[in-house]
């Protein structure tokens, strides 16, 4: 063993460390993302990250940033792992010059880690449609935003869809609705709501957990084959989705009675099952497809210049659009913050106000090249969930595309409201938070 060489390597490594501390002169808007391009969740993590990054790059290339201030996008690899997520968060949150303006944990587990930190570090968390559902209560969670809809709203929307197919809420009586879920904070999130609705509408509910990473589901699907539930819901992510859809196909479970959460409904999830996945359903809060004007701008300003993160022909996939719409709402919040505070040099505190006053209506969507892409979102001080509407989309295996097949369902607020109230009150009591007045 040559110790000298080893020392040499170690010294070189230490010397290389401060290199990343170099700063920029002009003010820039720092938007960090916690991505995962490695591990069992990478098939879903990659398109989300690509969509998010491409949108920010497009703004930089087309408009020179937001109101003329460049965006500095910082990404950090978490592998969907909480410990790495914490490391990433600590790393990106103070990135000069503006510090992190909003953080997207892209993992329910990491979101739970960061919720208490947000208020102390003054970095707003934008957990778009995931994370802690009761964070919808802006009185208790001023720094957390989970619009456009929460898992609980989604659960009520999916049950409404089922009711529509069964001929109204009365048709739910005696039906069996099972939930196949990722055995983690994320997957357990909808259970409470589904149970509450089971009591109310008289269906029989049962949860079937699938452990991380979700490759082993034989037993779960054997049980489904035996007990023949009328409907199966799924809260899955990463490899788990593909495996579940393949297993469902292999027991010939009717695909049009199998509904995934909006994280379980992308091209990556259904393609491996081929034709057998035809008719599979999933939740959605935005349109699939790459034909919107904003996509043309991304192709023109980003991909034509060779700055694209992913493959050109994968622009417009469901999860790509998901990442993109997240970037859109984040940058709109920053724009709003600039407007409220009358400065272009905003910081995290300002952006929080921007999120709280966010109002992206149809006119604004049209201006952004996203007309008809999603529904208008308006955030208030007490409601951080926004409208909470969810539609159902269906996979057409022949045409290889997703189509929205239902209306956008309003959430059953009489079900979710009391649950959100109770859960956020519990959080407030445990952490000595005094709910603010709205």
């Amino acid at each position: 063993m040559n110790l000298r060489k080893l020392t040499g390597v170690a010294v070189a490594a230490v010397l290389a460390l401060p290199m990343f501390a170099s700063g920029a002169n002009a003010y820039e808007l720092v938007i960090p993302t916690l991505d995962y391009r490695t591990g069992p969740y990478a098939p879903n993590g990659i398109p989300v990250a690509n969509g998010f990054t491409d949108y920010l790059n497009m703004l930089n290339e087309r408009d020179g940033g937001i109101n003329g201030v460049k965006i500095k996008h910082v990404d950090c690899e978490t592998g969907y792992n909480t410990k790495k997520g914490v490391e990433c968060y600590e790393k990106v949150k103070n990135t000069p010059p503006s510090g992190a303006l909003a953080i997207q944990p892209l993992s329910t587990g990491i979101t739970y880690q960061l919720i208490p930190k947000a208020a102390v570090d003054e970095v707003p968390i934008f957990s778009m449609g995931y994370g802690r559902t009761s964070a919808a209560n802006g009185k208790v969670f001023p720094w957390v935003f989970n619009f456009p809809a929460t898992y609980w709203s989604q659960a009520t929307a999916l049950v409404q869809y089922i009711a529509d197919q069964e001929g109204g809420f009365d048709g739910l009586k005696g039906k069996k609705i099972y939930l196949v879920y990722h055995n983690s904070a994320y997957g357990k999130e909808p259970i409470r709501t589904l149970e509450a609705m089971a009591e109310k509408f008289g269906y029989e509910f049962r949860g079937l957990p699938v452990d991380h990473p979700g490759q082993e589901q034989k037993a779960t699907w054997l049980q489904i084959r035996k007990e023949k539930p009328d409907w199966v819901l799924m809260w899955g992510w990463g490899v788990m989705n593909q495996v579940a859809i393949k297993e469902a196909a292999s027991i010939r479970y009717p695909m049009d009675h199998f509904i995934g959460v909006w994280w379980s409904g992308s091209e990556n999830d259904v393609m491996p099952a081929g034709e057998a996945a035809d008719g599979y359903l999933s939740g959605a809060f935005h349109a699939p497809g790459g034909g919107f004007p904003v996509h043309d701008d991304i192709r023109k300003h980003v991909y034509d210049k060779g700055l694209g993160k992913g493959d050109r022909d994968r622009i417009g996939e469901v999860l790509y659009n998901r990442g993109m719409v997240g970037a859109m709402w984040t940058t709109e919040a920053i724009r709003k913050a600039m407007e409220i505070h009358g400065t272009t040099e905003v910081i995290g505190k300002h952006v929080r106000d921007g999120f709280e006053a966010l109002d992206v209506d149809e006119v604004r969507l049209e201006e952004l090249g996203l007309g008809g892409f999603t529904y208008p979102v308006k955030i208030t001080c007490e409601n951080h969930e926004g409208p909470g509407k969810v539609a159902v989309q269906q996979w057409d295996a022949k045409a290889k595309q997703w189509n929205i097949v239902s209306k956008f369902y309003e959430p059953l607020r009489d079900v979710t409201g009391p649950l959100i109230e109770a859960d956020s009150a519990a959080y407030a009591a445990e952490n000595n938070v005094t709910p603010r007045d709205c």
Binding site: M1, A16, M19, F20, T108, Y112, E430
Partner: protein
């Protein structure tokens, strides 16, 4: 030239039996501790505390615990993750029941509960050995994690099955949650780890440690010279689990603040700690620290060099990091199969002869 013991004459038994009989070693360790306690806290920011030093200290402590069992007593265990979970959930429940209780007492109680659980799952070690015992401890791993995920009482019937630490004050200073200063978290953890490491060093040098080592080296011979395997093995399980339990409580309360059982304490966690002691050095207190430094800190260092220094794409860097870690582990194990601690020892011996090696 600088590192030799000539002239350091011992005139009493205590001097001869000191932990660091060579003066240079002693001063070096005192210097490191002084820097750790008196200098680092002033330069500590959130990143260094939460992302680098706290995980290092917590994993070093867990490695120390596993090393007592595997390195000193020769009982292979794959239940470390689950035992850390026992410590974490015990501390969560104790803080919930008695919010006023001093956190040091909570840590000790969590350790004791883990020790009891560890002894129960250590009972098969009286009959089975080696790989078979590893499989038996695997049962602990799966059973305990399943239980913490299944039984609502453990996580206070939280909707998502997560446990979140409450704000805890230690003599008026906040040590958990986001409001705690990095220095407070770090100093608290460092103190606990140092005290426990010192006790571990003394246990393994004493009668109990020698019993463990006798069992490890040849259990039948140990039995013949009058060592009771029941007591030796179960005490190893108890002490080891105590350490791992305390590590688990610190991992949950001070380092992470919120955990879900499957992700935070799964089988990978057990392997992670096992790798720490294999790479650091089995049967060495120093090895646990060196191994933890290697396994916890090198990936962070690699990432910062690749992403920050060399401008790699973060996803690319993630893949290269996995590759490099694998290569480094193989490299170190080929160079020195007995771990980094042994490497350190060889370096010291060479240093003694330097600059006249012949």
């Amino acid at each position: 030239m600088f590192y030799r013991e000539s002239g350091q004459l011992k005139s009493s038994y205590p001097a001869d039996q000191a932990i660091f009989p060579i003066a240079q070693d002693r001063w070096f360790v005192i210097g490191v501790l002084a820097a750790a306690f008196l200098v680092i806290p002033f330069f500590l920011n959130q990143y260094w505390a939460n992302a680098v030093l706290l995980p290092f200290l917590v994993y070093a402590l867990a490695g120390l615990g596993l090393n007592i069992l595997t390195g000193y007593c020769g009982q292979v265990s794959l239940g470390t993750g689950a035992f850390m979970a026992v410590g974490a959930y015990a501390s969560f429940k104790f803080v919930g029941f008695f919010p006023e209780l001093n956190f040091l007492i909570v840590l000790a109680l969590s350790g004791v509960i883990t020790a009891v659980v560890g002894m129960i799952f250590g009972l098969p070690s009286l009959r089975i050995k080696g790989f078979y015992l590893a499989v038996a401890t695997l049962a602990a791993q799966f059973f305990l994690v399943w239980m913490f995920n299944k039984v609502g009482w453990f996580y206070d019937y939280n909707l998502t099955g997560m446990i979140t630490v409450r704000p805890i004050d230690f003599f008026g200073i906040r040590i958990t949650g986001p409001e705690a200063t990095p220095a407070a978290k770090y100093l608290f953890t460092l103190t606990v780890v140092c005290v426990l490491a010192l006790s571990a060093k003394n246990i393994v040098r004493g009668r109990i440690g020698r019993e463990w080592m006798a069992i490890r080296d040849m259990d039948i011979a140990a039995e013949l010279i009058g060592i009771r395997p029941l007591r030796a093995k179960l005490s190893a399980f108890a002490v080891s689990s105590f350490y791992i339990g305390v590590a688990g409580a610190l991992y949950f309360a001070v380092y992470l603040g919120a955990v879900e059982p499957v992700e935070a304490f799964d089988i990978n966690q057990s392997f992670y700690v096992l790798f720490i002691i294999i790479i650091g050095g089995l049967g060495s207190v120093l090895g646990a620290f060196l191994g933890a430094a290697f396994i916890v800190l090198v990936p962070i260092l690699l990432k910062n060099i690749m992403v920050g220094g060399m401008g790699f794409d973060s996803g690319m860097a993630g893949h290269v990091e996995i590759l490099l870690m694998g290569m480094l582990i193989i490299f170190f194990l080929i160079v020195e199969p007995h771990g980094l601690a042994r490497l350190w020892q060889i370096a010291k011996e060479k240093l003694r002869l330097w600059p006249f090696p012949h």
